[in-house]
Symmetry: C2
Subunit: 155 residues, 2 copies
DNA sequence: TGCAACTAGTTAACATGTTAAATATACGCG
DNA sequence: CGCGTATATTTAACATGTTAACTAGTTGCA
């Protein structure tokens, strides 16, 4: 890649571009995920699959809507991941007798084993990041992000 | 979707889950993008296409590597977007005579017109967000995110 | 000169993101 | 009871994310 040489005449637009909050949030997320992705890949998981696994480990018997909300996945993505995991024997689907539209999900023994194998690696990387950034700054960042969400979300 | 009813026995895992920084960053990004996406869609653009348009508006004559780095897009995604825009007549490709591997890109008149049409809407929405969140908090958030990136990025 | 190592960009293959539409079930109410 | 409406989930279609492999051009150096 060519070394960048910012022309002076674009400084106004440059400032505007660096003040794109979605881009800065994406960049920060990438900085963190770059550490997690290789580890997850070594376990045969994508980032999104790991989020679903975590939700089902914490709340077994969730229905699809609840999994989607907690894992921040949209319906179609979740449908594909649940089908993938079901085919792999990681989770089991059971139709809800009280409401036939719903299906509830739970990890199988294989799924729980997979979760147990990944969780320690995940926590280790999280602690590395927390240490690199600093616990106080991390807490401040969490709080700011939460305030941002509640301030900006329209509902 | 079913109302959530958090079981007490999962409180430890719940705390862990809410302390997933990649998820909180994603959530914040979503809160912001939810405002931008409908506007961009009305102009026939995706979020990523708009990022490429902004880069080329600010730095005409960038090569693909430079566009990728500035727009935070990976090579394959950028290739597709450049092909899409080229077919639509939004930008023009020119091979670099000094280095035949490179191609440099610039907006056409049509591309500049498109940029000029979207930019005011984009800035209006950005100001709405800044006002909802508060300028000082926004500045703090930018600084924290920048520190996070430099602390966590391994290079 | 000639070849090995490197770099820019693209292609390939599979997974997810995004919106709209379709399907199936549940619910409310005349 | 029966029908319109709402809800849960899936499917469809296209765009992007991610990694690996591939192509073509470039560079350094024996």
């Amino acid at each position: 890649m060519a070394a960048s040489s910012d022309a002076n005449d674009s400084s106004a637009l440059l400032r505007d571009f660096e003040h794109s909050l979605p881009m800065q949030l994406l960049k920060a997320r990438e900085a963190a995920m770059a550490r997690f992705r290789p580890m997850l890949r070594a376990h045969g998981l994508t980032e999104q699959q790991w989020r679903v696994l975590r939700v089902l480990a914490a709340w077994p018997g969730s229905d699809a809507g609840e999994i989607a909300r907690r894992s921040l996945l949209l319906g179609p993505s979740l449908t594909r991941i649940l089908q993938h995991f079901e085919a792999r024997g990681v989770l089991a689907r059971k139709s809800d007798h009280a409401d036939q539209r719903r299906a509830v999900f739970a990890l199988t023994a294989k799924g729980r084993k997979l979760f147990a194998a990944v969780a320690p690696d995940s926590e280790r990387l999280y602690r590395e990041i927390a240490q690199a950034f600093g616990d106080e700054e991390l807490t401040t960042l969490y709080e700011l992000l939460a305030r941002f969400c509640s301030a900006v979300t329209t509902n």
